[in-house]
């Protein structure tokens, strides 16, 4: 079944190539791109069935030599964490394409070009999660920026150039420092083995035995790259700009998927390769994590722009993920990985819904809306559902992750956990306040009222307005997400079963055991 993984890398690239030739015909380009993304989704399902939880550490592995002189290989394979991330990418891309079906692109841009970039982005992102060669990972980590750079810079809002450059430079810089660390690890391996290699499994064995000082320096190089990517406070300022300027589908990819590479990197590279440093530097990461939860939540409350709001919500959520990773218990670790998955789903849904609001009102300012539930009750309901999963209501997918992160972190890090739990209250505040401002009260707000009844008009809730409720296409985009949100909220165990062995293996590599053991308690 190794072919499935290879096919997952190739299919979107082929799709991108085909779509490039359809730049003249927007509707055909959309159909073809959607078809390819659906094939990718089917492949992801196949990959899920091919993966054996509790089997080999890395499964479905395949590879060829690339730069033989440096022992660099094009090698791919997945563990449980990579699997869920690949699956969620494959799930979101068709929805992104569906949601953007009628979106107007900037003048002179074609759907063909836009969708080709989206598909390339999909392929590269899948590859980042599947890479098992550290050098390959680095290259893909940087290459991943290129389609995104063009997506933001070419199709975004007014300050798109600024946001694109900032995004690119920031991530790129982080990547370069990571490269230095990777080379350091390579050097250690070549000293020890007599032959250089970037193979992940080999580097884990070699580097994890290194002394604390070496580990600390190498750790910091990787950590900076991941902390920027994730993003952790204070390395976060690129995200609000990128999220705000990107077209809405691209915001889904940036906020919902790309930044997971950061936390994925922590689990795959930081913890196994630098176990001593991970333990020693955990307090540093935990401080940043909890700061992120509280800082991100408060800033989300204070935002006036919906897309920037989304970015700060995510910053808060990444704080939870980092807390779970660096608490070193299996429950918290599984919580973090499922948080990565669930954040993609629930925040992805929230972004798509907000995109539908913006498509109606033509503005991303919160104050331009009000009382929409009267004219678009379904849309309001969807905003509420995506909001409730964002604030981790029990019964939704996100509750599972937040609960696991917190209950798992408490035994080792009670103080940080209690501080992070305050984020629960703040989440209720920023979500429900947003809903209240946009959806309740009398119909009001410039964008909405003028769209409904012409400029300068005062909204009349009784009058038929131009603001329509969700279309069939929009319902088709959101309905699967609602179903997944509830299904994973009540029956999370099948997914947790996939994640748990990989997290267990990672913690073994770190050399920690759960403080709360089976049956006995502590």
């Amino acid at each position: 079944m190794t072919w499935v993984l290879i096919a997952l890398l190739v299919v979107p690239l082929v799709g991108a190539l085909v779509v490039t030739f359809l730049r003249k015909d927007d509707s055909k380009a959309k159909l073809v791109a959607l078809a390819f993304s659906l094939v990718e989704l089917v492949l992801a399902v196949l990959l899920w069935t091919a993966y054996k939880p509790g089997g080999d550490r890395i499964q479905l592995a395949a590879g060829v030599d690339w730069i033989a002189a440096f022992g660099v290989r094009l090698s791919f394979g997945i563990d449980g964490i990579a699997l869920v991330m690949i699956a969620v990418i494959a799930l979101l891309i068709p929805l992104v394409i569906g949601a953007g079906w009628t979106e107007k692109l900037p003048a002179g841009r074609s759907q063909g070009g836009y969708l080709a970039l989206i598909l390339v982005q999909e392929a590269v992102t899948v590859a980042v999660f599947a890479a098992t060669d550290v050098f390959l990972f680095y290259v893909l980590f940087e290459v991943m920026l290129i389609p995104m750079y063009f997506l933001i810079g070419g199709y975004g809002g007014a300050r798109r150039q600024y946001a694109a450059v900032k995004f690119f430079l920031y991530s790129f810089l982080g990547g370069l420092i990571m490269l230095a660390s990777a080379i350091g690890a390579y050097a250690m391996a070549s000293d020890e083995l007599g032959k250089g290699t970037f193979d992940w499994a080999t580097l884990v064995k070699v580097v994890s035995d290194a002394d604390a000082t070496t580990q600390t320096w190498l750790f910091l190089g990787f950590f900076l790259a991941f902390a920027i990517k994730a993003p952790l406070v204070p390395f976060h300022t690129w995200l609000p700009d990128a999220a705000a300027e990107a077209p809405i589908g691209v915001t889904v990819i940036v906020v919902g998927i790309l930044d997971k590479v950061g936390t994925f990197g922590m689990l795959r590279y930081l913890l196994p390769m630098f176990p001593t440093a991970s333990k020693n530097l955990a307090p540093l990461v935990l401080v940043l994590a909890v700061a992120g939860v509280l800082y991100g939540s408060l800033l989300a409350t204070g935002q006036r722009d919906m897309k920037r709001f989304l970015a700060y919500v995510s910053i808060a959520h990444f704080g939870f993920i980092a807390l779970g990773i660096f608490s070193f218990t299996s429950q918290a670790g599984v919580g973090s990985v499922s948080y990565m998955l669930n954040h993609s789903i629930s925040t992805g849904m929230l972004i798509l819904v907000i995109g539908m609001v913006i498509a109606r009102g033509g503005s991303s300012q919160i104050s331009d809306y009000g009382g929409m539930s009267k004219v678009a009750p379904l849309l309001a309901g969807m905003l509420l559902i995506s909001g409730l999963t964002t604030l981790s209501l029990p019964g939704t997918n996100s509750f599972v992750s937040e609960f696991l992160v917190l209950i798992g972190s408490f035994p080792t890090q009670p103080v940080y956990t209690i501080l992070a739990t305050v984020g629960m209250v703040l989440a209720a505040l920023y979500v429900l306040w947003l809903y209240q401002r946009m959806m309740t009260g009398p119909l009001r707000g410039d964008a909405l009222v003028s769209a409904a009844a012409g400029p300068g008009a005062v909204g009349d809730p009784e009058k038929k307005t131009a603001i329509g409720d969700l279309s069939k296409r929009e319902i088709a985009v959101l309905a699967p997400l609602v179903a997944i949100v509830l299904a994973l909220g009540f029956f999370p165990q099948p997914v947790l079963d996939v994640i748990t062995p990989t997290v267990g293996a990672t913690l073994t590599e770190v050399g920690v055991t759960d403080p709360v053991s089976v049956q006995e308690g502590k």
């Binding site: 440096f70 940087e142 063009f150 810079g153 600024y162 450059v165 900032k166 690119f168 790129f172 370069l176 490269l179 080379i183 406070v233 204070p234 300022t237 690129w238 800082y295 408060l298 800033l299 204070g302 299996s330 429950q331 599984v334 009382g371 009750p377 409730l388 209501l393 029990p394 019964g395 599972v400 609960f403 696991l404 209950i407 798992g408 408490f410 035994p411 009670p414 956990t417 739990t421 305050v422 629960m424 209250v425 209720a428 429900l432 209240q436 309740t440 009260g441 009540f490 999370p492 165990q493 947790l496 748990t500 759960d514 403080p515 709360v516 053991s517 089976v518 049956q519 308690g521 502590k522």
Partner: protein
């Protein structure tokens, strides 16, 4: 502690209790407008079905001879299982949860039926029934769940339903604000519940009732105290207890059936349930229970005092609820002498307070949705059924024998006198004082609404219509009549021969009887005397029924303070809301100018000159991006060469 046995027979179908209302809610929400015609009937049918099943289950449990066998566990599925952490999603069917099932589905059925008439003119009535169904499902999960996590599911689920229903008239800004406030203040309480759960897992590796309660001795005393206080915080949020009481009166912005079901009879009493359910933990901590009693005592007085000053029909009843739940919290804080008493008052209160709210709804329904009692008066002859049923509920609430409230409240007051030394006098005295005040403000309400001069005759409602008060349709009056019957006979029925406390014994342990500083008989007499006194003073003050329609503004300080909710909201505003707003603004500024400024500044520095950065931002960026990539590969190559040559 009675160990549960695996559910069998009819009990193995107990998931139906959750599935029926959840199914109703799902059909109504997904079906949308297509269900407009019959949605309300489906809503009622699912709840009645659940009630029918609940009755069958109840009688089959009563039929089990050995009380030890009356605690059953129904495993549904493992919600989460990761190494040491297993969360079993299952139901605990025992006397305590079954009592709640009957209360929730019974009162729930009546209120569903009442809502058919009350919401008849409301657009989207089916959605209202969907939310009500959702509430019932969540509330049943709350009381039936077999562990603290399943309880938490239901706990936040009812919070959601409450949020949706308070905000039912969401085009009114105050309703939307009240809904958000309720959810937020509840979440503050949930914080306590969540951390208590973490503590349990940390020490015992489990959060299921059976294991936690049987191994409760493994906690250190500090942990026990922490857990009792954290659970109390959760209870305060959900049950509108001090200092988290401010959301409940605002919640009256929701439709009246919601106020009756959620914000009087069931959801707001969940805090009492939580403490009674966790009694093995509270049994171990006298200090924890003392704090519970203090919270209960303080809240019951706050509720009474504010209730005396309000002019809004439903808000007076809301503060009355706050105060009556204060009694229940006080009762469960008393420990083994009070757990069952708290539950008994919860049940009788469920009946008479739901009836009082439905009566208020009936009055407002007939009065153009007017809620200001100063604009009422003399309504008894226009709404005779409402008047009679409401008065029966009123007599029950103020504790006149032989009505329901007398039995349950008197028992709590007598038990409050039992503590050692000063405790008995203080808590007993507070509870007695509360009884007098309750009679006062409820009598004021009775007079201003139903008796005296019809002050509304010369007035028009806000929407410019004249008032034409009229009796409500049968779908509304029949539930009121049934609840009135419960308000009359419920207390005697539950208390005679220790019927309820005996039934609850497998869940709550034996109801201990202790002799207080005052004898039970003495307390009974004092309670009635104070109630009559309170009512008499109200009659003397308001009996002529010629209150001014506009409320007088030049009033004494106590009245002003009570009208301002004893400054609870002002305090919240000053302590949390305003500092929070300022902090947020400061952080937004810091983030933009400070953190991001630093980033851009560094970028400019690295770029060599700001001019170069400006060029980056305005053009040539694509080529720059590519050159960066090429550059990095060059750097990489150079590094490798340097290192390995």
């Amino acid at each position: 502690m009675t160990e549960p046995v695996a559910a069998s027979g009819i009990a193995s179908l107990a998931w139906l209790l959750l599935a029926l209302p959840a199914f109703g809610a799902a059909v109504l929400l997904v079906g949308g407008k297509r269900t407009d015609k019959w949605g309300h009937l489906l809503g009622c049918a699912t709840i009645l079905g659940a009630f029918g099943y609940g009755l069958a289950l109840f009688f089959s449990t009563v039929g089990i001879e050995n009380p030890e066998q009356r605690v059953q566990n129904l495993h549904l599925f493992d919600w989460v299982h990761i190494n040491a952490l297993t969360v079993d999603f299952g139901l605990r069917l025992d006397p305590l949860s079954l009592t709640f099932v009957l209360l929730i589905t019974g009162v729930g059925s009546l209120i569903h039926i009442y809502s058919i008439g009350y919401m008849a003119h409301e657009e989207g009535r089916r959605k209202f029934f969907a939310y009500l169904n959702l509430f019932v499902a969540a509330m049943l999960l709350l009381v039936l769940g077999n562990g603290f996590v399943t309880l938490y599911f239901g706990w936040e689920g009812v919070g959601l339903a409450s949020y949706l229903l308070i905000g039912w008239y969401q085009y009114k800004p105050e309703a939307a604000s009240a809904a958000k406030k309720a959810f937020l203040m509840n979440r503050v309480g949930d914080l306590g519940l969540a951390i208590a759960i973490f503590l349990m897992f940390n020490r015992l590796g489990t959060t299921q009732y059976t294991e936690v309660f049987s191994r409760v001795k493994e906690f250190s005393s500090a942990e026990i105290l922490a857990i009792t206080l954290l659970l109390l915080l959760g209870a305060c949020g959900k049950s509108g207890q001090f200092p988290l009481q401010a959301w409940l009166p605002d919640a009256m912005a929701g439709p009246t059936p919601v106020s009756a079901l959620i914000h009087a009879a069931t959801m707001v009493t969940a805090g009492v349930y939580l403490i009674a359910r966790s009694h093995p933990i509270y049994d171990l901590s006298a200090d924890g229970r003392l704090v519970v009693m203090i919270i209960g005592g303080v809240t019951l007085l706050i509720g009474c005092i504010i209730g005396c000053a309000y002019d809004d029909f439903k808000k007076v009843l809301a503060y009355s609820t706050v105060s009556q739940i204060g009694y229940m919290i006080l009762a469960v804080g008393l420990g083994p002498v009070g757990y069952a008493l708290g539950i008994m008052h919860l049940l009788t209160h469920g009946f008479f307070k739901a009836g009082l709210f439905l009566g208020a709804g009936s009055v407002m329904h007939g009065m153009n949705d007017e809620g200001n009692i100063r604009r009422m008066g003399g309504l008894a002859k226009y709404l005779p059924i409402t008047f009679v049923t409401w008065t029966l509920g009123y007599l029950a609430l103020i504790g006149i024998p032989p009505f329901a409230g007398y039995f349950s409240k008197d028992a709590i007051i007598a038990a409050a006198f039992t503590g050692e030394g000063w405790r008995g006098y203080v808590f007993g005295g507070v509870a007695l004082l509360g009884a007098g005040l309750t009679a006062f403000y409820m009598t004021r309400l009775l007079i201003l609404v139903f008796l005296g001069q019809p002050r509304w005759k010369e007035l028009k409602s806000d929407d410019g219509r004249e008032y034409h008060p009229h009796e409500s349709p049968l779908t509304m009056t029949i539930p009121m009549i049934i609840l009135a019957v419960g308000s009359v006979g419920g207390g005697w029925f539950l208390s005679s021969g220790g019927r309820l406390s005996g039934w609850l014994e497998p869940s709550l342990g034996e109801l201990k009887e202790e002799h207080g500083v005052l004898s039970h008989g003495m307390v009974g007499i004092l309670t009635v005397v104070l109630a009559v006194l309170g009512a008499a003073i109200a009659f003397l003050l308001f009996g002529r029924g010629t209150q001014p329609v506009e409320r007088p503004e030049r009033v004494s300080f106590p009245v002003r303070a009570a009208r301002a909710d004893l400054y609870g909201n002002a305090l919240n505003e000053a302590l949390f809301a305003r500092p929070g707003t300022w902090l947020t603004r400061a952080l937004v500024f810091l983030d933009l100018k400070g953190v991001d400024g630093l980033v851009n500044g560094t970028a400019a520095l690295l770029g060599g000159s700001s001019g170069r950065l400006r060029r980056l931002q305005t053009g040539f960026v694509r080529s720059y991006a590519l050159s960066m990539l090429l550059g990095s590969i060059f750097v990489l190559g150079a590094l490798l060469v340097v290192r390995f040559s």
